[in-house]
């Protein structure tokens, strides 16, 4: 798996879906999620593409650099959360020159732990955790069943997409949507949608 390819693909997907993510955020948040992430992932991709990061560096290092760029440029709730997720994932990968299926499982688990430690959300709170947590579980399941990197990544992406869809009926208990109380019910969580998107980029580039 090329961490650089993943981040660059994620940046492209986020850019093309930025307006939709922002619209979803306008419904139950403050209408900036897509543009926040676009800024952050563009910076991450630029860091990887530019001189800032050695593209030949180990994947873990690349994810740490991407995470730093995201923290530095995104702002909002999603900036620290995604930035921490990527940095933790990168740290879990360490200096391993290639990512194994098991390594991916560890990285995603570390990302989830980073998000929940920082943001304090649990599954069911209608946040990105509702996409990330099932993704981690699905990845670990696929791994237990002997799946390879591609299979594990695809399992994570599919579970994340399903998890995002499942946020629709939930009442938000974290993030801005929680201010709406019951009015948050019936809308999909934008951060869960973007998590699914980022993991789709992972599945598309994991081979």
């Amino acid at each position: 798996m090329s961490a650089a390819a993943w981040i660059i693909r994620a940046a492209a997907l986020v850019a093309s879906e930025a307006d939709r993510l922002t619209r979803l955020d306008a419904a139950i948040g403050d209408g900036d999620h897509g543009h926040n992430l676009d800024r952050g992932f563009t910076a991450a991709a630029a860091a990887i593409d530019g001189a800032a990061v050695d593209r030949e560096a180990p994947p873990g290092r690349i994810l740490i650099a991407a995470g730093r760029a995201i923290v530095s440029r995104t702002g909002g709730a999603s900036g620290p959360l995604y930035g921490t997720a990527l940095r933790r994932a990168g740290k879990a990968l360490g200096d391993a020159p290639v990512v194994s299926a098991a390594g991916l499982g560890d990285a995603l688990r570390a990302a989830l732990d980073g998000v929940t430690e920082l943001g304090g959300a649990s599954e069911g709170d209608k946040t990105m955790v509702d996409a990330l947590a099932p993704a981690v579980a699905a990845c670990e399941n696929a791994l237990a069943e002997g799946g390879d990197l591609e299979t594990c990544a695809r399992a994570a992406a599919e579970a994340a997409a399903a998890g995002a869809d499942a946020t629709v009926p939930l009442q938000a208990r974290k993030g801005r949507a929680s201010y709406l109380g019951e009015r948050s019910i019936g809308h999909i969580d934008p951060g869960a949608v973007s998590t699914a998107l980022i993991l789709r980029a992972l599945a598309e580039t994991a081979s």
């Binding site: 403050d30 926040n36 800024r39 702002g75 909002g76 900036g79």
Partner: protein
Amino acid sequence: MRKLINAPAGVVADALRGLAAAHPELRVDPGLGTVVRADAPVTGKVALVSGGGSGHEPLHGGFVGPGMLDAACAGEVFTSPVPDAVIAATAAVSSGAGVIHLVKNYTGDVLNFRMAAELAEDEDIEVESVLIDDDVAVEDSLHTAGRRGTGAALFAEKIAGALAEEGAGLGSVAAVAREVVTRSRSFGVALSPCTVPEAGTPTFELGEGEMELGVGIHGEPGRRRVKAGTATEIVDAALTAIDADMPLDGADLLVLVNGMGGTPLIEQYVAYAAVADWLAGHGATVARPLIGPYVTSLEMAGVMISVCRLTPDLTRLWDAPVQTPGLRWGR
């Protein structure tokens, strides 16, 4: 979208360039989004840093100056500033006496300021964070992200800023800021949505004759949509909600009637007349009124009412001189 802007993505940087051009007494970095007193760091003084998403002007950049903030960090519209900006601002104002982060309670603000505070402490800058959460429209705050920070940010910045200017230590300044927050409550009402420039469409649709009760300052819908009311009814809804949470009977109040950005001053004074009547009818005294668009939500029409139960000390600090673009009196 009817906006006086150049490009949606450049609004914040352009506005900061304007702030810099108009106010040589401020050191502005439009790219990073920082606004710093030009005379910072002020030797021996506890420094106050606040910030948050843009779109609330004059909050916070317009409140930088003697007697109030030492620095502000301006994120993109409605988007918390990044830690890099907060660290830069913190370092720029730190004189060694400690820095206070006044943070409105939004997940994004809390996380970005927390990251910055950790990094600042690595550089041996002592940082105390004070959380501002005054918005009673957020009910059931145990099962939400908690109350939003709104009008009390202005109160805390002004009052803690005055105490810092007097030379008080880090602990005392943080304590008075927390005291202000504890004694303050707010409630907002929207008569129209607003449009985030980069989004290009209104944050919600509101039919003629409708309004949103219990909105924050980010163009988000409120707790309830109801039939549009008169100024008297709107004020009653807001003050009843506040009073239920923090009884106002017998209180000596600092009152902010805050235009949301698109509501003209004449209407804010109509609202203040209703506020004065309501409070007089409920045994409260307005010791200090402030009327104007101080904590805005882009061009949203509507009003937010904030109150703070004063003590003689808080009143003295409120009255102390302040010299900022957005708030200016005394001396």
